[in-house]
């Protein structure tokens, strides 16, 4: 009860005149820049019910604790058939569930390519016909199988996946191996080069990584979270820039690759492939974030967002307190820079599970750590800093591990709260690649994107339905 001891320091929200009246009394006052919430009429009642829920404070605190304390170690590299039990004709894909009819160009392209790669169809045309008819094929979201996939995110049984484990909370997460940039399957390309590269990855790269990783973890863990922590201090943000992370991973694994006993030519090619693909580490950073957000799942009353994912048509989120339910809206088309002659008209709407990085507190949320790619956010370093600072308004914590040097090593904004997004109208800032909207095109650019605003109030309404009436007990 210290309120009456000395002159109060005041926070005001609402009419400016009360703040002015306090300032004129020389009282320290901070005015909130308040706006009406997102969502239609009645959203204030839903917000009230969610925030009045006696469970929310503890549930969110637990969610945040798990999100922040989760570890991420690379423990194995295995074929998806073995690691995930995928059978021929079964595929995983990015984003919330979707059928062929509504599937975007890049997702269709990636599924077509995967059919050809798995020898389930002799040509792209026959693959497309089989996929459209649905006979002998099925696809489900990666997220439903503890997996994440960048862009189209298509995983087929013969592809090899990283297997990461959270030693703190015991979770496991998987992610495919990154193919590089340009014409690649995850951007919807399925030409002969693409299929040939995928075969090399499963025939040579996968087994080689498996041997090296198993050698390494026999003596020391491969701490992916530690690499991610360091990369943020080296100009990466973990989504659109993974250069430092990639090289650190290669540095860690190179001795084991060399001592794997594999032919020198294969080792050299693998090292060149990894080191030459600035995004190789993305497929390790993503499952690391997936481990953290999965640890925060299924806490009744919690409004913490545990997944943001897009399939090229829909943008979906999942929230801790609402289980596996997706809240979806139309995916926006990113704004940014284009490769070669591509322009905005060539870009497909937002796609990929890679927004798990923002959900986990890096990527666009750590934009200020990556001045080299500020052109995606307007060109000025100050814009990158502002982008990160704005995200503190919609997150519940600052990461004790992921830090931004230019902000005085302040922890990255972590733990998106659906109620804060709804209240402030500030949408998560997502850095992303852009796929061509026509199947087979591949990457056309990179930039930034926001989720559709309505999915956050939708999640709040769902939480409200699960909350007791206001005044139902404190």
């Amino acid at each position: 009860m210290s309120l009456l001891e000395g002159e109060p320091r005041v926070v005001t929200v609402g009419a400016q005149l009360f703040s002015d009246a306090l300032a004129s009394q020389a009282v320290p006052v901070t005015q909130v820049d308040w706006r009406p919430p997102l969502g239609e009429v009645g959203i204030e009642d839903a917000l009230t019910r969610v925030i009045a829920d006696p469970r929310i404070a503890k549930a969110n605190a637990t969610a945040i604790d798990r999100l922040l304390t989760a570890g991420a170690e690379l423990v194995d590299v295995r074929p998806a058939s073995e690691a995930l039990g995928l059978q021929p004709g079964q595929f995983l894909h990015a984003g919330p569930p979707i059928g062929w009819e509504r599937a975007s160009g890049p997702l269709r392209g990636a599924l077509i390519g995967a059919m050809v790669y798995e020898n389930l169809a002799p040509t792209p045309e026959t693959a497309e016909a089989a996929l459209a008819s649905g006979t002998g094929v099925s696809w489900e979201p990666c997220h439903h199988h503890r997996t994440v996939g960048p862009m189209a995110g298509v995983v087929s049984p013969s592809m090899w996946v990283f297997e990461l484990r959270d030693p703190v909370h015991g979770g496991t997460a998987f992610c495919s191996l990154n193919e590089g940039l340009g014409k690649v399957l995850r951007y919807g390309a399925y030409g002969p080069d693409v299929i040939e590269r995928l075969h090399w990855m499963s025939d040579v790269l996968g087994p080689l990584l498996q041997t090296a990783v198993r050698r390494h973890v026999a003596t020391a863990p491969i701490d992916v979270k530690a690499i991610a922590t360091q990369m943020l201090q080296m100009g990466d943000e973990g989504h659109n820039r993974n250069r430092a992370g990639t090289l650190m991973f290669l540095r860690e694994l190179l001795p084991d690759l060399i001592e794997s006993g594999a032919p020198t030519a294969d080792v050299a090619k693998a090292a060149a492939f990894i080191g030459g693909n600035d995004h190789f580490f993305l497929n390790l950073g993503m499952p690391a974030c997936k481990l953290a957000t999965d640890a925060a799942r299924d806490l009744p009353g919690s409004s913490v967002v545990v997944a943001m994912a897009r399939n090229g048509t829909d943008f979906g989120i999942q929230v801790s307190g609402t289980g596996d339910r997706w809240f979806t809206g139309p995916a926006n088309t990113p704004e940014g820079l284009f490769l070669g002659a591509f322009g905005p008209e060539d870009a497909n709407p937002d796609i990929g599970d890679s927004a798990i990085t923002e959900t986990g507190g890096i990527g666009g949320f750590a934009m200020a750590a990556a001045p080299a790619i500020v052109k995606f956010v307007g060109g000025e370093v100050a814009d990158a800093i502002e982008a990160t600072r704005l995200m503190y308004e919609i997150t519940l914590a600052e990461s004790p591990t992921y830090q931004v040097p230019v902000l005085g090593f302040r922890g990255t904004p972590t733990g998106i709260d659906a109620t804060l997004v709804t209240r402030t109208g500030i949408l998560p800032h997502i850095n992303t690649g852009m796929a061509g909207k026509v199947a087979g095109t591949g990457q056309v650019g990179a930039g930034l994107v926001n989720p559709p605003a309505e999915i956050f109030p939708a999640a709040v309404r769902a939480l409200a339905e699960l909350a007791p009436p206001v005044g139902g007990g404190a």
Binding site: L4, T12, A21, V32, W34, R35, E386
Partner: protein
């Protein structure tokens, strides 16, 4: 005649700012009607009422409606609006790399490196969220907002109790904490009286009455008008009493409330008696002491001498009796005036009637003796409080004075932090004008003002009194005395 209807999606400004902007735009030469407002149902209704064809818009959209003589006037109106909007926003010129403005109470508290109290005045349906944010950040809260459901109030107060914090409100208009005025608060000197008030203007009146005897206030903690109801059961009253009891600067506690729920009254009384600091219980309403008498009791309890507060009532009295019309910004001041008036005049019609059968009709048109609380929740939805913006009252002064049965107008003018910066400057010309119009029609309309003020109020209370007096008003610092004077005039009894 030219009309402009414009919808600006997602351009949010608070209603107070927009009222001021609307006024600036309406004042532009050649503009016949103008409304700049967020597209709430209420505002769109208002615009339709002004004859505009309203476009589809939501509460996050800024709607601009202007009717003017010609295109030039419309252009001038738009320019005036842009200027007014720009001057209203403090956030412009945000240097690259600056911290964005905090958007929630929790964020603002972190930015400030800690805080003690949050003052919440967002629209009622949003108040709970911000108030919970404050409690969660370890801040006590003053909820100025009204229209907050009682179950939300109970939830807030339970949360506060669990955290050892205080919730003042909802609908708490006034508090003074360690000399700092919050909401609408007169500038009071420091002193020995601690106040716990379930009535904002009641607390202001009491502090102003104490001030006339140079008796100061340690703290004045509002609790909200419903705190002593059966539903809320004195949750904040008991916390506030305990805080003042612990406060070494408080020698006497005065608890101001409308008659509480009997069970709650018994509980709170027993609690008050358990405290070391003496508690003076001041209940408002029929058969109870008025606030001026309460102040006298408090002053005497401290062993000091009481004297009747200052007044200035040398105006010529109306020749004939007639109806009394009260137009109040303060609900408790209105209520107190009605209690005093009905003792002599009988039935007093009101929007907050003493008896249900005395209620005004839905159009609130005055009949007989009538008093209107213009600050009532029902009248402040979507518009600023009459202590901030006097337009509703000024319009109504003209209506009442033009009624040939009316002989006396009774007004409160509340000064202090947060209130209108110069109310007399707006009221005095209107009062002089309506008195003149009545005189031209061969009638007398007397004006009596209850000036709720202290000598240190930022508006300069002496100058306010002078302006009102020059306009022909009798001016009283005591609301009860003002009411008695007005009643005597209306009854045709020389006061």
């Amino acid at each position: 005649m030219t009309e402009l209807i414009d919808v600006r999606r997602g351009a949010y400004h608070d209603s107070v700012t927009l009222m001021q902007v609307s006024r600036d735009v309406a004042a532009v030469d050649g503009v016949n009607a103008a409304q700049v407002a967020m597209g709430t149902e209420l505002n769109l209704d208002l615009m339709r009422g002004m004859g505009f064809n309203t476009p589809p818009a939501g509460p996050n959209d800024l709607v601009v409606a202007v009717r003017a003589a010609d295109e030039d006037a419309v252009a001038r109106a738009v320019a005036a609006m842009e200027l007014a909007l720009a001057s209203g926003s403090g956030g412009s010129g945000n240097l690259a790399g600056d911290e964005p403005a905090p958007r929630t109470v929790a964020s603002a508290t972190r930015r400030a490196g800690g805080a003690d109290l949050a003052l919440v005045s967002v629209p009622g349906p949003h108040a709970f969220t911000e108030a919970m944010d404050a409690l969660g950040s370890g801040l006590s809260v003053l909820v100025f907002s009204d229209n907050v459901p009682v179950e939300q109030e109970v939830r807030l107060k339970d949360e506060a109790r669990a955290r050892g914090l205080l919730v003042m409100g909802p609908d708490c208009g006034t508090a003074v904490v360690s000399g700092v005025g919050l909401g609408f608060a007169n500038a009071v000197r420091p002193g020995p009286v601690g106040i716990v008030a379930a009535s904002g203007t009641g607390a202001q009146q009491l502090m102003c009455m104490l001030d006339t005897r140079e008796v100061g206030v340690s703290h004045c903690l509002g609790v909200g008008g419903r705190d002593l109801s059966a539903a809320v059961a004195g949750r904040s009253t008991k916390t506030a009493l305990a805080m003042l009891d612990d406060d070494p600067g408080t020698e006497l506690i005065v608890l101001v409330s409308k008659p509480p729920d009997p069970a709650v009254a018994a509980d709170v009384t027993a609690y008050a008696e358990s405290l070391e600091t003496p508690v003076l219980l001041a209940l408002l309403g029929e058969g109870q002491d008025d606030l001026t008498v309460v102040a006298a009791r408090a002053v005497q309890a401290l062993g000091r001498t009481w004297a009747e507060p200052w007044s200035w009532d040398d105006q010529q009295h109306p020749a004939a009796s007639g109806h009394l019309r009260g137009l109040f910004a303060g609900g408790t001041l209105c209520d107190e005036a009605m209690v005093i008036a009905s003792a002599t005049l009988g039935e007093i019609r009101s929007n907050i009637p003493l008896r249900p059968e005395w209620a005004l009709g839905p159009d609130l048109r005055s009949i007989g003796h009538a008093m209107v609380d213009l600050g009532d929740d029902a009248l402040t939805q979507g518009r600023p409080h009459p202590m901030i913006d006097q337009r509703t009252r000024i319009d109504r002064i003209a209506v009442e004075a033009a009624d040939p049965t009316v002989s006396v107008l009774l007004l409160d003018v509340v000064l202090g932090h947060g209130a209108h910066p110069d109310p007399a400057a707006e009221l005095a010309p209107e009062l002089a004008a309506v008195r003149q119009q009545a005189a031209d029609a061969g009638r007398d309309v007397a004006v009596v003002v209850s000036l709720c003020a202290t000598v240190d109020d930022p508006q300069d209370s002496r100058r306010q009194a002078e302006l009102l007096h020059e306009a022909g008003a009798a001016v009283f610092l005591s609301n009860a005395a003002a009411a008695r004077h007005a009643v005597a005039l209306a009854a045709g009894v020389a006061p």
